[in-house]
Structure formats: C-alpha cells, structure tokens
Amino acid sequence: MSPHFDLDTVVRFVRGDLDEAHAIELALHLDDCPTCRARVAREEPLTRWLAALPSPETPAALADRSLAPAVDTPAIAVAAVCVTVATVAVVLANPVPDLASGLVVARATAQALAGLLAVTGTVGWIALWAAAVGSTLAARRLSESP
C-alpha cells in the first residue's frame, strides 16, 4: 500500500467533500509530506476550474414528458377503422327507416372505443373523436341517399 494519498482522496479533499476524519488525517500528513503537498497543489487549480461550471437548470417539463404514455398509432388506426366499418354496417343494414338509431349506435360505438383507448393519450382521444364525428357524418349522408 502506498504511503501517500491517492488522486481520488486528494481531489475530494480539495473539493471539501472528504469526510472529516479523513480530511484531518490528510491535513496532518501534508505537514510532513512534500509529495502529497505537491499533489494537492497540482490538483487544486483544475478542481477549482471545474467547480466554476454552474449547474444547468432542468427543463420543467422533462419528467412529465418522459412519463407521458406512448402513443400507440397502429391501435388508433385500427380503432378508427373499426368505428367507421361498424357505423357503415349499421347504416347499410338499416338505411332509411331508422336514421336516428343508426346515429345513436354509431356515436355510442365511437365513444365506447374512445373511452377504452383513452389510455393512448391525447392523440388517441383526438383521433377517436375525429373518427366518431366522421362516421356520424358518413351515417347521415348514407341515410339521406334514397
């Protein structure tokens, strides 16, 4: 074992984050050891320079953005197609006589799916509501045609 203090200990000493017992031990050793005194003198300026770099400010939304659920685009696409197909099917099966119930079914289907897939986040909501509105309009047009 080397009788001198290692770089890590010297740097921590210079930085002031060596625990008290070790700091006292090193300080006492420095009185008698030119080698370690030279080492402290060598490491001190750079340590001071490095400490001059201020800590950067963390962007406020960093943690929140990393916690936002992943947007599952394929799931949204599949859901949108399902809603549209279901609506068209309902309207085709029951074109003119019962327009009102066709619309109710279409909207209910879309809303149920939107609710189920709300876990996909904001984009999921927007996409599913767009699908709901779109399918409702499609239902209206289909049922208006003779």
Binding site: L46, L53, P54, T58, L62, D64
Partner: protein, 160 residues
C-alpha cells in the same frame, strides 16, 4: 417502491445535467436528456434491482448521448461557446461567465471517453466503483481514465 413516476422525478435533473456536460449545445442536451429519461422510465422493468440504480441510469444517458454525437453529420460551429481567451496559463479566474465558458469548451474538446468519466466523477459525484459498474470496465481503467481526463483538461485550460 421504484415507480416510473418517482424515478422520472428523481432523475430528471441528474440526467439533464449529465447530458448538458456531454453534449456541445443546450438544445442537443435537452433532446438527449428527454430521450434518455424516456428510456429509463420505459425500460425500468429491465433494471436489475439487486444492483445500484445510478450506474444503470447514467449508462442509458451515456449511450443516448454517444448515439446522438455519432448521428451529428456536421460539427455545428455556431453552437460552439464563444470565448475570449485570457492570457494562456492565467490562473486568475477572470470572470465567472468566461471561466464557465472556457471549462465548457475544454470539456467539449475532450474525447467522449474521458469527458464521460470526468463528468460522472466531478459533476455527478459518482465513486470509482460506480463509474466502473456503469461502464462495465475494471476499476483500474476508471482510475486511469480520470487521471488522463484531468491531464487533458489541464492542457486544454492551460492551468497548473
């Protein structure tokens, strides 16, 4: 309990700080930090809970930064820190902002390998063993790299 929420809150600052030291510009650091923290949160189930957390998190941050640095097709000189150099070898800490700028520029010029250990050791206060664990290299390699990194920094800053 190690929940994604807790980990994200606790590690946002250290990850960002590390990325800021590793990346040449603030914008690139912000992007890297965001990408790294997302990986940390999403891959939390892959973390071996019998091991310390810090080396694992910094490992992800390191890989994210190194990937981003590799993706840079051209050096963005306009991002370089503007520094008016005081007399070479000047030990006087001229002006706080100028000093910080010089340190930042010296850090950026350091090879990634050395910048990484220096940042982990000096700014993230990691112990040699934690850095060794994070890099999956022997302790002696870490000691050697820190020694060399300090030497290179001294040369770049022309101090002592």
């Amino acid at each position: 309990m190690l929940t994604p929420e807790r980990v994200a809150r606790a590690w946002a600052s250290p990850v960002h700080r590390y990325c800021r030291r590793m990346m040449p510009s603030e914008a690139e650091a912000d992007d890297a930090a965001q990408e790294a923290l997302i990986k940390v949160v999403r891959h939390l189930d892959r973390y071996d809970r019998t091991r310390p957390l810090a080396p694992w998190v910094y490992g992800i941050a390191r890989n994210t930064c190194l990937d981003a640095l590799r993706r840079r097709t051209h050096k963005r000189e306009d991002d370089a820190v503007e520094v008016i150099d005081p007399a070479p070898g000047a030990l006087v800490l001229v002006d706080e902002a100028q000093t910080a700028a010089r340190v930042r520029r010296a850090l950026v010029t350091l090879p990634d390998l050395y910048r990484d250990v220096l940042v982990l050791y000096h700014y993230e206060n990691l112990k040699y063993v934690e850095i060794a664990e994070s890099l999956d290299v022997p302790l002696g390699t870490v000691m050697n790299r820190i020694f060399r990194a300090r030497q290179k920094m001294r040369e770049a800053l022309e101090v002592a």
